[in-house]
Subunit: 218 residues, 2 copies
């Protein structure tokens, strides 16, 4: 499997600028071959302003950004994307827009079959997993399903704060942490630990640098 | 309209026992005529244990409790209920179970047409409004709709904590506060202020005792 994912918990970290805390990881991840990144701003209301924010940041890293909402055909835009970045905001609004624009399965196909690198931040990390069942966001709109893009076979709770004994979710990414997935290898990156929840087992803390590949095999 | 509602933000308040902080309001609300309360424990997984908790508390106040899940026919149980109490837990689980058991419209009919008193706590307050769009809970299951019982024409966010400038929800009930609705009269009760959000207007704080009847007329 060609899958390459960079799943970031949060886009800004205590006072830093947009994506500052993970910019080296972004440059590493997309590398020199990628020239243009398809940005999906569906999680926020003002798509133009959001795309400008992403574009300004990515240009400092040497990448051009295309907003998916600027393309006449969103599915076509996914079909020819070199790289995909889905930004944060409201997870329900994001997933509903992904379904409304019929790009869920095409993004999955491009990432899992064609190896197009996928970066997600916050809500964009949530929708990369099997479902949005572990979002902290308010359900401001009703998506046709809670099933998501399904690039990994577990759930992630971005902005993870406190252990909740009633929760069954699979993983908590604290602010400052991110998950790098390359094929069947998963590595925890960033500056904070992450917490793994597995039903029927005690939760476990993992340090940055930990190999979490076992999460990809069930 | 005969509607009588007691909508409580939270069932336990900083260290107190279950429903201790609002027990006088409960006695006032159900009064002497009500003998039995139909309890809806759908928001928690262990319905028997939850019903026992409610039963033990209500017995100290002079009311018998029937768990709706103990009845062979939930719709029939609603049809003959003297009073209804929907407890808190996970709002998504609660609303899905209400739909699965086909009791949403029957509860609405009994409360709005027959004047059966309705008490809600937390998730039970959420589902009494027009929709669950302002819940803080995790979407652990997928209900067939976010539309709720619709006993009032606005949203409530129980356990309200912080102003969120991106939110459009209509009202925040802080822990310790509750809303009493009698026909077309609404009164804020409890020990904490509540905050009203209206789209396009500045949010407004209301003290306990405030008349909020204007919320019922739009």
């Amino acid at each position: 499997m060609k899958r390459r994912l960079l799943l970031v918990s949060n886009s800004t970290l205590h006072g830093g600028g947009y994506l500052d805390h993970c910019q080296q990881n972004i440059s590493h991840f997309f590398g020199k071959d990628v020239k243009r990144v398809l940005f999906v701003p569906y999680a926020l209301h003002d798509r133009d302003a959001y795309t400008k924010t992403a574009r300004d940041k990515f240009q400092t890293l040497g990448y051009e950004v295309d907003g998916i909402h600027e393309a006449p055909d969103p599915v076509g835009a996914v079909r020819k994307a070199e790289a995909i970045f889905i930004g944060g905001g409201n997870t329900f609004r994001l997933l509903k827009s992904l379904y409304d624009n019929k790009v869920v399965s095409e993004i999955r196909r491009r990432v899992l079959e064609d190896g197009v690198p996928y970066m997600g931040s916050s809500a964009g990390t949530n929708v990369s997993t099997i479902s949005i069942n572990t979002t902290n966001d308010m359900p401001i709109v009703y998506p046709p399903s809670f099933s998501a893009i399904g690039l990994v076979p577990f759930n992630i709770n971005p902005h993870y704060l406190d252990p909740n004994p009633n929760s069954r979710h699979m993983g908590g990414l604290r602010e400052g942490s991110m998950l790098l997935v390359e094929g069947n290898k998963a590595t925890l990156l960033g500056t904070t630990k992450a917490r793994l929840f597995t039903r029927g087992k005690p939760s476990v803390e993992y340090d940055p640098g930990s190999d979490l590949s076992f999460l990809l095999t069930h």
